[in-house]
């Protein structure tokens, strides 16, 4: 297996807080990689660094052997890395279909964008296919703002997919949604993974992560603690310490960096 996405030695501070401290992460091509860790361990910051929303103080992000460190978010997306947000972000005053059309990629300037219609038939068909995939086709003409929370999660997944990225970063896809929908989302991820899409998933729902992921990386206090198969990670004492609060922090530091 080859490494598709790699973050090496990433550090990032916000004021005095070291949100990321020499953090490393590798995502294998075609895998579903889980990223877990206690609140405030730097998972979302790492996502932001990879997708260009936050510039790292140190370290490099490579994608398919290209250095993409410090790329703007639009460049990162064009390169083939799509993401969703923990707090779902959609375009509320546009229709669901228009939301989809925004994400369709065109390597063109604004002048060309001005001269062409917002959608061709092919693009609409493509968008509708993905809406059908997540099961919200019937909502296509409604304002996205009128969708329920779960439907918004599905829409966000759909419009990231419409640009056919190689790797998809999901920030808490199961957060705040009911069990039926969690299973539905897990099924979609499996289907897409079978078609060759790579996933990196931040999630607090352990059952979701353990059932879905090929590999799990655990983060604690801004760095990667352990990486391994879900079953191994689950029984690792360091992980239990990180989550439940071990009484010997120094030992964790030593082993983690050793």
């Amino acid at each position: 297996m080859t490494t598709l996405l790699k973050a090496q030695g990433i550090s990032r501070s916000f004021g005095g807080l070291k949100a990321l401290n020499d953090c490393n992460l590798e995502v294998e091509k075609g895998s579903i990689t889980g990223l877990i860790g206690p609140n405030g361990s730097g998972k979302t910051t790492l996502f932001n660094v990879i997708t260009g929303y936050v510039k790292p103080d140190a370290g490099t992000v490579t994608f398919e052997d290209d250095d993409i460190t410090g790329f703007e978010p639009d460049k990162v997306f064009a390169r083939g890395i799509g993401r969703t947000f923990q707090l779902t972000r959609i375009f509320g005053r546009m229709t669901v279909l228009e939301n989809m059309l925004v994400a369709i990629q065109h390597d063109e300037g604004w002048l060309k964008g001005l001269a062409r219609s917002k959608s061709s038939k092919v693009e609409v068909d493509n968008a509708m296919e993905w809406l059908d995939f997540v099961g919200i086709t019937r909502l296509a003409e409604l304002d996205a703002g009128s969708l329920s929370y779960g439907q918004r999660k599905l829409l966000e997944l759909a419009y990231v997919l419409v640009a056919s990225p190689d790797v998809i970063l999901l920030d808490e896809p199961a957060g705040g949604v009911n069990l039926t929908l969690i299973n539905q989302i897990a099924d979609k991820i499996r289907t897409l993974n079978a078609q060759g899409k790579t996933f990196l998933i931040v999630e607090h729902n352990m059952e979701f992560v353990m059932n879905l992921c090929d590999s799990v990386t655990v983060m604690n206090q801004g760095s990667n603690l352990v990486t391994g198969k879900p079953a191994d990670v689950r029984s690792n004492p360091l992980v239990l310490d990180a989550y439940l609060g071990g009484d010997d922090d120094e030992e964790i530091e030593v082993v983690a960096h050793g």
Partner: protein, 336 residues
Amino acid sequence: MFEKKNLWWLLGAAVLAVFPLIVTNPADTSIAVFTLLFMACATSWNMFSGYSGYIALGSSVFYGCGAYTMALVSIHAHMAPGAAMFWLVPLAGLVAMLVALPIGWMALRVRRHTFVVITIAIFFIFQLAAINFNFTGGTSGLALPFIQWGFSYYNVPFYYVALGLVIFITFVSAGVRRSRFGLQLLAIRDDEDRALGLGVKVTAVKIAGFTMSAFTIGMAGAVYAMFVGQIYPQFVFDPVFDISVALMAFLGGLGTLAGPLLGALILESSQQYLTVSFSNGSLYLILFGSLFLIVIMFMPRGIVPFFTDRTKRSAALKVAEANNQLAGAGAGSAQS
């Protein structure tokens, strides 16, 4: 595709086209010229600020630059007073765009409220510059070549040129709304960071939209300068203009096509009419105050959305229906 909606547009255009043939009183047609100029400006303003959510309160910078371009070029080129001066109108628009480019490049680095404040600041820089520079004539302004058209005829050419501007910008604004570019402006309005993360080149789109909106406002300023024959810095770089175009768009419906047209039609014509007929320059403020209270209380999104939303009632029912069908995908809070 011919819809019922298009009939209304055609009807409106027809009424405006024959208006000066029916109403020939120069006092009335003069009001009509000002009203049309504001309709063009409000629509042009809305094409950027309404679509993108970046509320600019310094549009009179472009209006003033257009007016001064018309005045300076016609004076220094010793143009014969008359219809030939209308050829300078597009030039004035281009100058306004040139001015808008660096302003947009600077101001659009910041978001929302900060952007509003910066546009106001830039407006004051331009007003002060026009008052203090020599080539602008300072506080005494500039007198344009005096056009000796007959009293009853004078307003008519200006009326049709202004109407031309309104039709032009309405088509441009409608075109933008239907283009991919317009879609990206709307995406920026709803969530700029998300749009950026979906590959939208937000900076280029914002600057392009801002600059394009300056074109028609600059042209309107040029027509204004030619119409009144004498310009003063405080009347072409006018804070009331800045606020008026924004209020017109808000009244009619921000981000809609017909909204700014309707808002400008109501506000500018009633203001001019009240001022002229009661020779009281402040009376319109009372009317405006009550009008805005009514709109804010009963139709907070503006006149046009208020009525289109009513026709969309059935759509709202569809939402409820669809939500019921998708009950399984509803908002749960179960998280283990």
